[in-house]
Structures are given as structure tokens and as C-alpha cells.
């Protein structure tokens, strides 16, 4: 096991290498590009055997990865933003086919207008597709979750694809200290690939064919049950990962609590700004405010039991969203948390911020948390750290 200063994208590429992935369907999109550049570089040097399939679009990238997975090899792809939305159809095909595939999403804002910076809307918009969805908060976790993703999705009690989210630029391009496991450790952790069925000319099967209504509905229920049952399996595999590979990371729970036990106030969020939020929580604790943080690591399966347990007897809960769910007055995370704990927590507030790369650091978070502890009037606010300049609207006729 060695330590190296690498970016999140490099960490993911190394995870793919260590997992001995057979086929990678690639199509570059910012901020995920350097993952596949790194993979192509390793392939050119002969360090990995992965078959790299260059395709014409993200839709085809997922289709190629899907086909390879059906053929029985470990398959990987990565995408972001518009690319993820372009994949949307194939994402449902993979989940509906119950085939283990792993994808990393370098999350980024969704157009229009063009914006390449970080937010979570692309990721959260796939939450009903039937994939297991984990979200990393640092490059180390991006590597760890990618390795665990292969094991989880190939478990016979799960057999569902898994995507790992990673904040675009904030994690994908920022270099930090990452613990890289040895090949032997990973070989010991990852079992040989298992999947429910495989395409084979000697033993033909029909797949993707028409299913009668009742059979179709039974399949949907089976996906739901497999996803909900995966909670215990994720914990089990996480504990094994702690033991065999990374004893410093704690993967025995789905979500991560920070100073929550004796807290009156709780912050709920997902992703990389958890680091800044932890520092803000520390600062407020020094001032004597009992505040804690819950980081959602798994958006799907949504661990209702764990979240209710972590947030019970809190005076108020603030949910920070880096994503939008238009027309609902709050982000997807706010809606999910509210539906989970509305009967046990009297006050649940939401903040939407950090969209499209808006900088939200410790000072901004401190401002938000202070306001929250003082008591927010509105249920949901959209917080801008700076004043936004006014844009004058003109109709084309005015331009002469």
C-alpha cells in the first residue's frame, strides 16, 4: 500500500486498473475527461489489459459498456452532466436488465446555459433509475467506493449497476494525499465476476424483449426489493473493505455522522463540501452551539433507518442542496430528508446553494449555519454568496 498525491480522476483510473476491468466504453466530457485519458495512457504503456472502446457519444459509451457486461466481463464507464442525460435511456436499460456495471460521474451543472462547473443536479436526476448511487467526498473515497462498487453490484443478492458521484473539479481535478491499495489486496477483496446471465451463442437467450404487463411489474418490484435489501450488503462489504484494504476509512455505515450524538441542530448534505461544513461545525462548537453534520453517502438505497436514527431528537435540521428539483421549493435531498423525518423533527429547513460552481466555502457555510441557528423564516432559501448582476432582457427585434 502506498501514498501518493493524485487527483480524484487519477484515483478512479487507478481503481479501474486495480479492479482489472475488462472493457471501458469511453467518451470524454469535462470534468471526467482525465479519467479516460489516464486509462488510455496506462493502456498505451501496457500497464492494463482493459479493452478501450472509443464511441461516438455517451449513449453509445453506455451501450458498449452494457454489451461488454452482458458478455461477462467487468465493465466501466465515466461521464458527467449533459453526457449523463444523454445516457439516460441506456441507464434505464442497464438497470432493467439487472446487469452489474460501474460508472463514475464527475458531477457538473446541466445546461442551458453552458456551465462546466460543479453541482449535483445531473447526478440526483438519475435517482429513480434503479442504480445504486454513492457519492464521494474526497478522492480517497472516490477510489474506495469505485472498488466497492464492483463488489456490491456483482453480489448475487444485488445484481444492479452502481454509479459513484464525485464533485466535478473540486474532487476530480484537485490533488490530495490518497492511499492506493496493492494489487494483491484488491484481488483478495474482489471476487471473480458474477452476473445473473450471460450472452453465449452455445446457450442462446432472449433479452430486451417484450414482457407482458405482470412480468414487467414483477421485474420492477424485484429491482426495488434488491435495491432496498442492498443496504445490509453494502455495510457488510464496507466492513470487509475496512478490514482488508483501508482501515482508516469507515465504510461500515451508509451515511457518515459528525458530532451528531449530543447535537441540537443538524446539517444534512452530500459531497465534497462536507469538509468545509465540518470545519464550520467545529467553529460553531467552539462558540458553544451544539451542532452536528450528517453526510449522505448513499442516495440509493436511501437508508431510512439510519437517517431517522441519526436525526432523532434534534431541534432543527438544515438540508443543503447542491442540486435542484424545479417547482418543488427545495432540492431533491431536502424532499427526501423531509419525507423521512418530518414526524420526528419539528423544524426542517432547506438551502439551495453552490449551483453551477458558485463558491461555497467555510465562511459562506458559517453564514448559512448561523442564520439557521438563529431561526430561518422561510422553509427553503436560495443562497448566493455574492450579489448577482442584473441582466437586461432584449427581444431580437430591438437589436439593429
Amino acid at each position: 500500500m502506498i501514498r501518493k498525491v493524485i487527483s480524484g480522476n487519477e484515483a478512479v483510473a487507478l481503481g479501474v486498473k486495480l479492479a482489472r476491468v475488462g472493457v471501458t466504453g469511453i467518451y470524454p466530457i469535462t470534468p471526467q475527461t482525465t479519467i479516460i485519458e489516464k486509462l488510455a495512457e496506462m493502456r498505451a504503456k501496457g500497464e492494463i489489459e482493459t479493452e478501450i472502446v472509443r464511441v461516438e457519444s455517451e449513449h453509445s459509451a453506455m451501450a458498449a459498456t452494457f454489451g461488454a457486461a452482458l458478455g461477462g466481463v467487468r465493465a466501466f464507464t465515466a461521464t458527467a452532466s449533459q453526457g449523463l442525460l444523454y445516457m439516460h435511456e441506456m441507464i434505464w436499460w442497464v438497470a432493467g436488465s439487472r446487469v452489474p456495471v460501474v460508472m463514475v460521474v464527475g458531477t457538473r451543472a446541466v445546461g442551458a446555459p453552458w456551465n462546466i462547473w460543479n453541482e449535483h443536479t445531473d447526478f440526483t436526476s438519475e435517482r429513480d433509475s434503479g442504480w445504486i448511487m454513492a457519492f464521494a467526498s474526497n478522492p480517497q473515497e472516490a477510489l474506495d467506493l469505485t472498488l466497492q462498487a464492483f463488489r456490491i453490484s456483482e453480489d448475487e443478492r444485488v445484481f444492479l449497476p452502481m454509479m459513484v458521484g464525485m464533485d466535478g473539479f473540486i474532487l476530480s481535478h484537485t490533488k490530495t494525499n490518497v492511499l492506493i491499495p496493492d494489487q494483491e489486496q484488491v484481488d483478495d477483496f474482489l471476487l471473480p465476476r458474477r452476473q445473473p446471465y450471460v450472452i453465449d451463442p452455445e446457450d442462446p437467450i432472449g433479452m430486451g424483449n417484450i414482457f407482458p404487463p405482470e412480468g414487467y411489474m414483477r421485474l420492477r418490484e424485484s429491482i426495488d426489493l434488491a435495491l432496498r435489501n442492498s443496504e445490509d450488503i453494502i455495510k457488510e462489504i464496507g466492513r470487509e473493505y475496512n478490514k482488508k484494504i483501508n482501515p482508516l476509512g469507515d465504510y461500515s455505515t451508509l451515511n457518515v455522522s459528525y458530532k451528531l450524538e449530543d447535537a441540537d441542530y443538524a446539517i444534512v448534505l452530500m459531497g465534497a463540501w462536507a469538509g468545509d461544513a465540518m470545519e464550520a461545525v467545529d467553529t460553531l462548537r467552539e462558540k458553544g452551539i451544539k451542532i452536528g453534520m450528517l453526510r449522505i453517502r448513499y442516495l440509493r438505497p436511501w437508508s431510512e433507518k439510519e437517517i431517522r436514527n441519526a436525526l432523532k431528537d434534534k431541534r432543527a435540521v438544515l438540508v443543503l442542496d447542491r442540486s435542484t428539483s424545479f417547482g418543488r421549493g427545495g432540492g431533491p435531498l431536502y424532499v427526501e430528508v423531509k419525507s423521512t423525518i418530518s414526524d420526528i423533527v419539528p423544524q426542517i429547513k432547506g438551502v439551495v446553494s453552490g449551483l453551477g460552481g458558485v463558491t461555497v466555502n467555510k465562511s459562506e457555510l458559517l453564514y448559512i449555519f448561523n442564520k439557521f441557528v438563529e431561526g430561518l423564516k422561510d422553509d427553503v432559501i436560495w443562497y448566493y454568496p455574492k450579489e448577482v448582476g442584473k441582466i437586461e432582457l432584449r427581444t431580437p427585434r430591438d437589436i439593429e
Binding site: S97, R98, E156, P196, P201, E202, N209, L225
Partner: protein, 87 residues
């Protein structure tokens, strides 16, 4: 492999159905010469009706569904399939 009760997969096995069955209208049918067949499965890959069935390293024709189009005879690299007039 032990699968849990809730697991259910969208896969079917190819099966016979009344839908594609050939009537009495076929004029020619493919006949495989097993002395020539090398088991390359080119005919299996190209048959538009999936009536070529791989068996024991060679191929067999499912005459119940074969339409007699002759694609298999054309793609066979060793000319092991000949189209024979229906009696």
C-alpha cells in the same frame, strides 16, 4: 448459483410459438452436408429467422420455422448447405 427469492431477471429462453411457423408454401429447404460442415456457425449468425441451431459442434436446421430463404447456403464458406426442392 443460489438466487434469492426476490431476484427476477428480464431474460427468456428461445421457445417455439405459433407465430412464425412456416406453412406449406416453402419451395426450397436447406440441407446440411455433415461431411463438409466445419461448425463455423456463419449460417447461425446470419439466419434471419434463427432456425439454424448449433448442435454438437455442427449445425442443424429447424424445418418447422425455416422459410427457405437461402441466406445460410450463401454465407457457408465450405458450401456445405444446399437448397433442395420441397417434395
Amino acid at each position: 448459483m443460489s438466487l434469492l427469492e426476490y431476484q427476477y431477471f428480464p431474460v427468456t429462453r428461445p421457445n417455439k410459438g405459433a407465430g412464425g411457423r412456416t406453412g406449406a408454401w416453402r419451395i426450397v429447404k436447406p440441407v446440411v452436408d455433415y461431411n463438409k460442415c466445419i461448425g463455423c456457425k456463419a449460417c447461425f449468425m446470419f439466419c434471419p429467422e434463427s432456425t439454424i441451431v448449433p448442435s454438437n459442434g455442427k449445425v442443424r436446421v429447424d424445418y418447422e420455422y425455416c422459410k427457405g430463404c437461402g441466406v445460410c447456403a450463401n454465407v457457408c464458406p465450405v458450401k456445405a448447405i444446399s437448397m433442395v426442392n420441397e417434395q
